[in-house]
C-alpha cells in the first residue's frame, strides 16, 4: 500500500528520537538512586538485545508489517486479537507520552493553562505530521532530532562548573535489587516500546542496514541517558534528584548566568513528538490493515482525538503518573514488548527452517539473528 521509503539515517534518527522521547522527564531506573548508572548500563544492554529481537523479526519477515506477520503466524482469529491488543497498546503509549508532555508543561511553565489545550494543540501538529506520511516523519526527524543532542550537550557542558563528581558514591549501597529493578524498568521503557517500529521497519530502503541501525541507536540512547544521569546527579546530588518531579527542569535552573528552561521544552517536544507520531502512525496503519482500509490517513484524526482524551483521562494527577510508569508499566508492557515478539521470532524461525530445504539457508538466517 504505502510505498514510502526512508533511509537508514532517517530510521536511525527516528528510532533515537523515539527512544529518547519522554525518557528524560520520567527518568526510568531512578529507583536505583545513585546506582542508576549501573541500571542504565544493564538496561541499555538488555534493551539492545530486545530491539535485536524486533530487528530479527523484521529481517525474517521482510517487507511485512506487524499486523501482517501476526496474521500469518497466529492465524486470522488469533492474529486479529493480538493485533487489536497491540493497537490498544500503541494508542495507550501515545496518550501516555502526550500526558507526560502536558504534565511537564503545566507543572513547570504554564501553571494556569489547562492541560487539554496544550495537549490538544500538540496533537494537531502530530496529526499534520502523521498525515504527511512516514517519509516526512523521517525527514523531519533528520532535521530536528539532532537538536536534542545539541541541547543535551550544551546544557551538560555549561553545567561543568557547578558539579560534584563524587555524588554517585557509594556504589551499591542498597544492594543489587534496585539496580536490577531499574534495569528491567529501563528495558521496558523506553527500549521495549520500540516494538512499535515493527510497523516502520518495512519502509527502510536497504533492509540489511537494520542490523546496524538498531544497535547503534540503542547504544546512542543509552549513552545519552547515562550522560544525562551523571549530569543530573553531579549537579543535584542523589537526594534532590530522587525527590524532584522533573529532573531536567531543575537542572536547567542551575545554570550559572541564565536560565535555559525553554531548551528543555524543545527536547521534550521533539522527542515526545517523534514518539507520539510514530505510535499514532503505527496504530492507524495497523488498524487500517486489519480492517482492510486503504489509507491510514482517514483514521489518524479519530485516533489522535482519542489519544488526547485518553491522556487526560488516564491519570488523575502527576503522582499517579509516576506511580504507574514506575510500578505498573513494566509488567503491563511485558506481553506486548517481550512475550509476543519472542513468540513471533520463534514462529518465524520454525517457518523459515521448515520452508527451506537447504540447511545452509536456514543456518544463515539463524546466524543473522544470532548477530543480535
Amino acid at each position: 500500500m504505502e510505498k514510502a521509503r526512508i533511509s537508514s539515517i532517517q530510521l536511525f534518527l527516528l528510532l533515537t528520537g523515539f527512544l529518547f522521547g519522554n525518557t528524560l522527564i520520567l527518568a526510568p531506573a531512578q529507583g536505583a538512586k545513585n546506582d542508576a548508572w549501573l541500571a542504565i548500563l544493564l538496561g541499555g544492554a538488555g534493551g539492545a538485545l530486545l530491539m535485536g529481537v524486533y530487528a530479527a523479526i523484521a529481517l525474517l519477515n521482510p517487507s511485512k508489517t506487524l499486523a501482517e506477520i501476526l496474521k500469518e503466524k497466529l492465524g486470522k482469529v488469533g492474529g486479529s486479537f493480538v493485533t487489536i491488543l497491540d493497537i490498544w497498546y500503541f494508542i495507550h503509549l501515545a496518550s501516555l507520552v502526550l500526558r507526560n508532555f502536558g504534565e511537564f508543561i503545566v507543572t513547570m511553565t504554564f501553571l494556569e493553562t489547562p492541560m487539554a489545550v496544550v495537549i490538544g494543540l500538540f496533537a494537531v501538529i502530530l496529526v499534520y505530521l502523521v498525515n504527511s506520511g512516514i517519509e516526512v516523519m523521517g525527514r523531519l526527524s533528520e532535521l530536528l532530532v539532532p537538536v536534542i543532542f545539541l541541547v543535551v550537550f550544551i546544557i551538560s557542558l555549561s553545567l561543568i562548573t557547578v558539579r560534584d563528581f563524587t555524588a554517585f558514591f557509594p556504589v551499591l549501597e542498597n544492594g543489587m535489587k534496585p539496580v536490577l529493578n531499574g534495569a528491567f524498568a529501563l528495558i521496558t521503557f523506553p527500549f521495549g516500546e520500540s516494538v512499535v517500529f515493527l510497523m516502520v521497519f518495512p519502509h527502510l530502503n536497504k533492509k540489511e542496514r537494520l542490523k546496524k541501525v538498531v544497535p547503534a541507536s540503542a547504544a546512542l540512547v543509552t549513552f545519552i541517558i547515562l550522560l544525562v544521569f551523571f549530569r543530573d546527579i553531579f549537579v543535584l546530588g542523589s537526594d534532590l534528584m530522587v525527590r524532584s518531579t522533573f529532573i531536567p527542569h531543575l537542572t536547567s535552573l542551575l545554570l550559572p548566568g541564565f536560565n535555559v528552561e525553554p531548551l528543555i521544552d524543545i527536547t521534550l517536544m521533539i522527542g515526545g513528538g517523534v514518539k507520539c507520531s510514530v505510535c499514532i502512525y503505527a496504530a492507524a496503519r495497523t488498524l487500517c490493515q486489519i480492517a482492510g482500509i486503504g489509507d491510514y490517513r482517514k483514521l489518524t484524526g479519530a485516533i489522535s482525538t482519542f489519544c488526547v482524551v485518553l491522556s487526560i483521562w488516564v491519570y488523575a494527577n502527576v503522582l499517579e503518573m509516576f506511580n504507574f510508569s514506575e510500578n505498573l508499566w513494566p509488567y503491563y508492557s511485558l506481553p506486548f514488548q517481550i512475550v509476543i515478539p519472542l513468540l513471533l521470532l520463534l514462529l518465524s524461525f520454525r517457518k523459515k527452517s521448515s520452508q527451506s530445504n537447504e540447511r545452509a539457508k536456514s543456518q544463515k538466517g539463524k546466524d543473522a539473528a544470532k548477530a543480535y
Binding site: 511553565t109 506520511g133 516526512v136 523521517g138 525527514r139 532535521l143 525553554p262 517536544m269 513528538g273
Partner: protein
C-alpha cells in the same frame, strides 16, 4: 507555433468569421481553439496582390501601425511585390537595405514579365537577410507579421516570404537592481528573449545547452524558452517542466511570475518552490547544477526549477569569495532568517510568559521601558510591524525622490515620536527595526517571513515559547513535505545528502567541492556528472 493560438483574436477578425462559416465549424469556434486556428491558417494566399491587400486590410483593420508597401518592378512595372509589416516592430533600415534595395536593384531593369522562378530567386539570392522562411498560407503570413517579421507577397505566387527584420528593442544589458553583488558579473537579463539566450550561450559554450522554445498565453502568445544542459539536468525533471508548461492554460503570460504560479508544486505554500533570478552568472551556475531554466520574452526574470529551500540563502558572491567568509555570511543569513521570523514573537513570549528566563537586570530594564505603555506587548508589536510594512510598501511604490521624505517620516515621526509619546516602548522599536533589517537579508523568503511573523507573534501571545515551538515545528513539517519537481524541498538536510551539504550552511572552497566549478547537483544520484565541456 505550437498550435495553441489565440482563438478570440482570430474570432474577431471578419475574414476568419467568413472562413469558419465556410468550413461549417461554427460549433467549435469558441471552444476548440486548436481546430479553429488550424483551419484558419490553411486559408491559401491569394495569387493576386490586390486580393492580398484586401485580405490584409480586413485582418488588420483599425491597426494604424500596419504598413504595406507595394513595389512594382520589372522593366514595365509588371511584377508587383507587396511588403507587409508592423511599423516600429521591424527595423526599417534593415528592411530597406536587405530586402527592398536588392529587389529594386535586381529587378528594376530586368525584362521579366512573369517569371516562374521569381519566388526562388528572391529567396535564394536577392534578399540579403538570413532569416527567411516560407509562409504556405495566410495564417502563417499573418503570424509572421504580428511577430515582427516583414512578409513579402509576390504577384502570382501562393506563397509568401517571411523575413525576420525585427528591430532590436528594449534596454541595454545592465546590472540588475534587485540582485546586486559585490563581486561577479554585472550583466543582468533584459526583456528581450533573444538577448537573454545569447547571454546564457555566451557563458556556457556547449552544444548540450538546449533551448527549447514554445509559445504560451492565448492572447499574448509569448515566447517561452526552456533551457537546460542535457546530460546534467535530470531528464525526468525536464520532461516534467515541459509537461507542466504545456498544460498551462492562460490568456496572458506577461511575466515569468505568471508561469511560476502555474507550474509551482504547492500553490498554497508561502515558500517559493520556483526560483527566479535576473543575473546571468547565477543562472549559468544553476544550469550547471542541473537545474532547468524557464525564460520568457518580455521579462528579465528567469525561473529555475527545482528550487530548494537552501537556495534562499545562497548568493553568487558566496562562490567567488573566500570560503570562510562565505560560510560566515551564510550563517549570518540564517540567523537573519530566524530573527526576521521570530524576533517579535520571542520578545512577546519573554515579556508576557517567561520572566524567569530573563536575567534580573535586563528584566528591570524591560519593565522600566514598558512602564506606562497602554498596549499589551502583542498589540504593540503588531502595530509596529504593520506600520513598518506600510512604510516599506510605500517606499517601494513611491517615486524615488519622495522615498527620502518617507524614510524621514518613518524614522523620526514613527520611531522617535511614538516612543516619547509613550505609545510604544523603545525596546519594541529596536526589535521591530532589527526584524525589518533582517527581513531584507533573505529576499526570496520575504513574503513567507512577513506572514509567518504574525503567526509566531500570535502563537507567542497564546502559549509563549511553547506556541512559538508549535508554529516552528508546523513550519518544519510543512517544509519537509514539500517537493519541488520531485526533489524534496529541504534536500541537503533532509534527506541528508552529504555531497550537497558542502554547499549548505557551510561553503567549502571550490577545490574541495566535487565538480570543478563548485556546483553540485541538488539531489542524490549525481552519477551523470558532466558533459564534455
Amino acid at each position: 507555433m505550437t498550435g495553441e493560438c489565440d482563438m478570440r483574436y482570430w474570432a474577431n477578425c471578419k475574414w476568419v468569421k467568413k472562413m469558419t462559416e465556410i468550413s461549417k465549424r461554427k460549433k467549435t469556434r469558441n471552444q476548440n481553439s486548436d481546430a479553429n486556428t488550424c483551419l484558419d491558417s490553411y486559408e491559401p494566399i491569394p495569387k493576386t496582390i490586390e486580393e492580398v491587400t484586401k485580405r490584409l486590410n480586413e485582418v488588420f483593420s483599425d491597426c494604424s501601425d500596419f504598413m504595406q508597401r507595394k513595389i512594382s518592378c520589372g522593366k514595365y512595372g509588371m511584377i508587383s511585390i507587396l511588403v507587409a509589416y508592423f511599423d516600429g516592430f521591424v527595423d526599417k533600415r534593415v528592411l530597406n537595405q536587405d530586402v527592398i534595395r536588392p529587389i529594386l536593384d535586381v529587378f528594376s531593369n530586368t525584362e521579366l514579365h512573369e517569371c516562374p522562378g521569381l519566388y526562388d530567386r528572391l529567396k535564394e539570392y536577392v534578399v540579403i537577410n538570413n532569416d527567411i522562411d516560407d509562409a504556405e498560407d495566410m495564417g502563417q503570413a499573418v503570424d509572421g507579421i504580428v511577430s515582427g517579421d516583414a512578409v513579402l507577397f509576390i504577384e502570382g505566387e501562393d506563397r509568401a516570404l517571411v523575413i525576420g527584420v525585427k528591430a532590436p528593442q528594449g534596454r541595454q544589458v545592465e546590472e540588475p537592481d534587485t540582485e546586486t553583488s559585490i563581486r561577479g558579473a554585472r550583466e543582468g537579463f533584459v526583456e528581450n528573449l533573444l538577448t537573454n539566450t545569447t547571454l546564457i550561450r555566451k557563458r556556457i559554450k556547449n552544444p548540450n545547452l538546449k533551448l527549447e522554445m514554445m509559445q504560451l498565453g492565448e492572447q499574448t502568445r509569448t515566447e517561452v524558452c526552456v533551457c537546460y544542459i542535457k546530460g546534467i539536468a535530470d531528464d525526468n525533471i525536464v520532461r516534467d517542466v515541459k509537461e507542466r508548461l504545456k498544460k498551462l492554460k492562460t490568456d496572458a503570460v506577461l511575466d515569468t511570475g505568471i508561469i511560476e504560479q502555474h507550474i509551482t508544486d504547492n500553490r498554497l505554500s508561502l515558500f517559493p518552490m520556483v526560483g527566479n533570478s535576473e543575473k546571468c552568472d547565477k543562472l549559468a551556475g544553476k544550469l550547471l547544477e542541473g537545474r532547468v531554466a524557464i525564460l520568457c520574452d518580455g521579462t528579465p526574470y528567469v525561473l529555475t526549477v527545482p528550487y530548494l529551500f537552501i537556495e534562499s540563502i545562497q548568493v553568487t558572491d558566496d562562490y567567488y569569495d573566500h570560503a570562510f567568509f562565505a560560510t560566515f555570511m551564510r550563517l549570518l543569513r540564517l540567523i537573519a532568517l530566524l530573527f526576521s521570523n521570530m524576533l517579535p514573537g520571542l520578545y512577546v513570549a519573554l515579556v508576557s510568559f517567561h520572566h524567569t528566563v530573563i536575567p534580573f537586570k535586563l528584566l528591570i530594564t524591560l519593565a522600566a521601558s514598558r512602564q506606562g505603555i497602554p498596549f499589551s506587548p502583542i498589540v504593540e508589536a503588531a502595530l509596529m510591524i504593520v506600520v513598518f510594512e506600510l512604510l516599506r510598501e510605500a517606499g517601494v511604490r513611491m517615486p524615488k525622490p519622495i522615498g527620502q521624505a518617507l524614510s524621514i517620516v518613518g524614522a523620526i515621526v514613527l520611531g522617535e515620536a511614538s516612543v516619547s509619546a509613550g505609545i510604544t516602548s523603545n525596546l519594541m522599536v529596536i526589535i521591530v527595526a532589527t526584524t525589518a533589517v533582517c527581513s531584507f537579508i533573505v529576499p526570496p523568503l520575504i513574503r513567507a517571513t512577513m506572514l509567518l511573523r504574525f503567526a509566531f507573534l500570535a502563537a507567542a501571545n497564546f502559549l509563549g515559547f511553547l506556541g512559538i515551538l508549535f508554529v516552528a515545528v508546523a513550519v518544519f513539517i510543512h517544509l519537509c513535505r514539500q517537493r519541488s519537481f520531485g526533489i524534496p524541498y529541504m534536500t541537503p538536510f533532509s534527506p541528508l545528502t552529504t555531497s550537497v551539504l558542502r554547499d549548505s550552511f557551510v561553503v567549502v572552497p571550490f577545490w574541495a567541492m566535487v565538480t570543478g566549478r563548485g556546483h553540485q547537483k541538488y539531489a542524490g544520484g549525481a552519477s551523470k556528472q558532466n558533459t564534455g565541456r
